[in-house]
């Protein structure tokens, strides 16, 4: 018998995990057409920064900020030295970031050993009847929603956001209008890196801190980006909602592994039958409604 409260919490948990896993990758891909295959390693760096800071006695919120800051710096260096040379070569930028990821994972292993002692999960658990659910993981769904809203505001309501979107739409024209497109790409990449770092920082208390930890976010991140479609924030939100409910349902019924299989299966179906992705469906729908109302 499926417990409804259980299922609801699991949905919130899956939603948060998918959105947070994907958001950094999705922003960089949506804005720059670069798939950052070092995404998992960025998450790992965020988690390492946070864990090392927290273990040194810094309070958790500050430690999270440290994790994010470290990842931003790494992202900045990577963009300035490598990514900017490969804007016109999407497959090569994948291979290059993949190479960076390899070196970072093994580098972390050499410097910090096979694992760090992890920090405990804060806030305890919510108990209801015979069940309980981690309070922290439920709160993360709120954080995920805040991140989405925040990113939406940044990209639609600020001067920077307008310039960044102008760059994506038509880099040459934007440049002619006085937008420093290079700087926009760098800033976007750093924002994406910061969000990946934030994901690592937020999940650091809940998982084992090992060099390869980033790969446990990759399935969700890639599936969300692939199914989301061209409109980044809308796509990520919809993917979080749709895939989150499917993942929660299948995990609840058949275990976490079947949850992942279901994700993959749905992703392949969406790709096959909805070429514009989830956000494409909404965009189509909106256009049709506008046409009918005219």
């Amino acid at each position: 018998m499926v417990n409804a409260t259980n299922l609801f919490f699991q949905f919130l948990d899956s939603f948060a995990f998918i959105v947070l896993s994907a958001i950094g990758l999705a922003i960089i891909f949506g804005m720059m057409d670069v798939i950052n295959l070092a995404h998992g390693e960025f998450i790992m760096i965020g988690a390492y920064g946070t864990t090392l800071a927290a273990n040194a006695g810094v309070p958790l919120p500050v430690a999270i900020a440290v994790g994010v800051a470290v990842t931003m710096v790494v992202g900045l260096i990577l963009e300035r030295t490598i990514i900017k040379r490969l804007y016109e070569r999407p497959l090569d930028s994948m291979v290059a970031t993949w190479a960076v990821g390899l070196a970072l994972t093994q580098g972390a292993r050499i410097v910090f050993g096979n694992s760090l002692s992890s920090i405990g999960v804060p806030f305890g658990a919510i108990t209801y009847g015979e069940f309980s659910y981690s309070m922290y993981r439920v709160l993360l769904s709120g954080v995920a929603a805040l991140v989405l809203v925040g990113a939406y505001l940044v990209f639609t309501r600020t001067e920077f956001g307008v310039r960044a979107r102008a760059t994506i739409q038509d880099a040459d024209t934007a440049q002619a209008m006085g937008v420093e497109t290079d700087r926009m790409y760098t800033a976007t990449f750093v924002i994406g890196s910061a969000l990946a770092g934030l994901t690592g920082a937020l999940y650091a208390p809940t998982m084992a801190i090992v060099p390869g930890m980033g790969s446990s976010f990759l399935v969700e991140a890639f599936v969300a980006v692939v199914t989301g479609g061209s409109s980044v924030l809308l796509g990520t939100t919809l993917a979080g909602g749709t895939l989150g409910s499917i993942n929660a349902l299948f995990s609840n019924l058949y275990g976490t592994f079947m949850g992942k299989i279901a994700l993959l299966f749905v992703a392949v179906l969406i790709l096959r039958f909805l070429p514009g992705g989830l956000s494409g469906v909404v965009t189509d729908l909106r256009e049709r409604m506008e046409r009918e109302s005219v």
């Binding site: 070569r89 090569d92 390899l102 070196a103 390869g212 993959l264």
Partner: protein, 372 residues
């Protein structure tokens, strides 16, 4: 193309002709003489080293087959797949399951085509959904990567009795031991391959596949593949079904990777989920990029060199192998995108032409794409 039509030289040229064309490097007489010498040396190699050493080198060579599978899919058809190890793993596991269950020499013989067929079918199915769903470019790379990750999660959790196929437990993290050596024939009249004979088997397979692929990429289908890589839209306008071309190449790549997986499982008599790990999934991409993805030979040479290097480092207990591999891959992508072997070949041909050793009229240069 056969400039001298008289005597032995003419015969030699005619023999080489089906393997020559603008899609492969090494079409000159000098190359073919070198190839014959290199083949003689590599075939004689086990006579001069221990059976252990020969078996060890056989591992590098069977990885070479995996590299060729990616080279043809990515280098020639432009489809970047991180999932060649999926087909490799599927075939390896299938070979183990079938051969252990049947338990006889004939069973092992039968397990080979079954395993390759399973890998081919998996590649065909995945390819169908991707290419007929008009998935292309980076999305293909992502999906193949996700499939690899999911397979790793799947195989790692197959410990326990419920994951037993016939009499063979899949074994989860502990893997599947007791996979028999490769054998062909029936009980009493069979060839079993181990040590030196296994080396010769792998090398022969590699040579046959390499020459087969040379014929393929220089055929009409090969030109279609390269055209799809260069400009999909134009090829479609010319009346080709690019989905069919991609699916064909991808399925062929799956079959080759699958055969490599069969060799791997019987080489160590063992297979475990690490064949689906990110590290292993990376290696074909590294081999092919470093060696030169638009060159079949480049991938082969780089595979043997890189794997030998990785083994040397891990034998000495160093942890730096993957860092070095990562930096090497990055350097090649940034500084020498065509890869080492095509670059060396281009330079060498240039020097030889300057000195008048090679007739510039013979098609001895790398592909035009590589020269760009």
């Amino acid at each position: 193309m056969s400039g001298a039509s008289n005597g032995l030289l003419g015969l030699f040229d005619r023999l080489c002709e089906p393997f020559n064309g603008s899609n492969t490097i090494g079409n000159s007489r000098a190359f073919w003489v070198g190839a014959v010498v290199a083949l003689a040396i590599t075939f004689a190699y086990p006579l001069f080293v221990s059976a252990y050493q020969a078996g060890n080198t056989a591992l590098f060579l069977l990885y070479g087959l995996l590299a060729l599978s990616l080279s043809v899919v990515w280098g020639y058809a432009g489809v970047l797949s991180f999932g060649q190890v999926v087909f490799f793993g599927f075939a390896g596991y299938t070979f183990g399951i079938v051969s252990i269950n049947l338990g006889s020499t004939l069973g092992t013989t039968l397990a080979i085509p079954v395993a390759v067929l399973v890998a081919t079918a998996v590649a065909g199915l995945l390819g169908y959904f991707m290419f007929y769903g008009n998935v292309s470019g980076v999305f293909v790379a992502i999906i193949t990567l996700v499939v690899t990750l999911v397979m790793q999660t799947f195989m790692a959790q197959t410990a326990g009795d419920k994951w037993t196929i016939g009499e063979v437990p899949l074994g989860g993290f502990n893997g599947m031991p007791g996979i028999p050596n490769l054998a062909v024939g029936v009980e009493g009249a069979a060839l079993t391959f181990s040590g030196d004979t296994f080396y010769w088997l792998v090398l022969s397979t590699l040579v046959v596949v390499y020459f087969g692929l040379r014929v393929l990429v220089n055929s009409r289908f090969g030109y279609a593949m390269v055209a799809v890589r260069e400009d999909e839209d134009r090829v479609e306008m010319l009346g080709y079904d690019i989905r069919k071309v991609k699916l064909g190449v991808f399925t062929l790549g799956g079959a080759l990777a699958g055969f490599s997986g069969v060799l791997y499982a019987s080489w160590g008599n063992y297979i475990d989920p690490s064949v689906y790990s990110l590290t292993f999934a990376t290696m074909p991409v590294v081999w092919v990029t470093v060696g030169g993805r638009e060159s079949l030979l480049g991938g082969l040479v780089a595979t043997v060199a890189i794997e030998w290097f990785r083994q040397q480092l891990s034998v000495t207990g160093s942890e730096w192998a993957m860092v070095v591999v990562g930096v090497l891959l990055l350097t090649i992508v940034l500084a020498l995108p065509e890869g080492i072997i095509p670059y060396v070949h281009r330079k060498a041909v240039g020097v030889l032409q300057q000195r008048g050793f090679v007739d510039p009229d013979r098609p001895a240069t790398a592909t035009e794409e590589a020269a760009e």
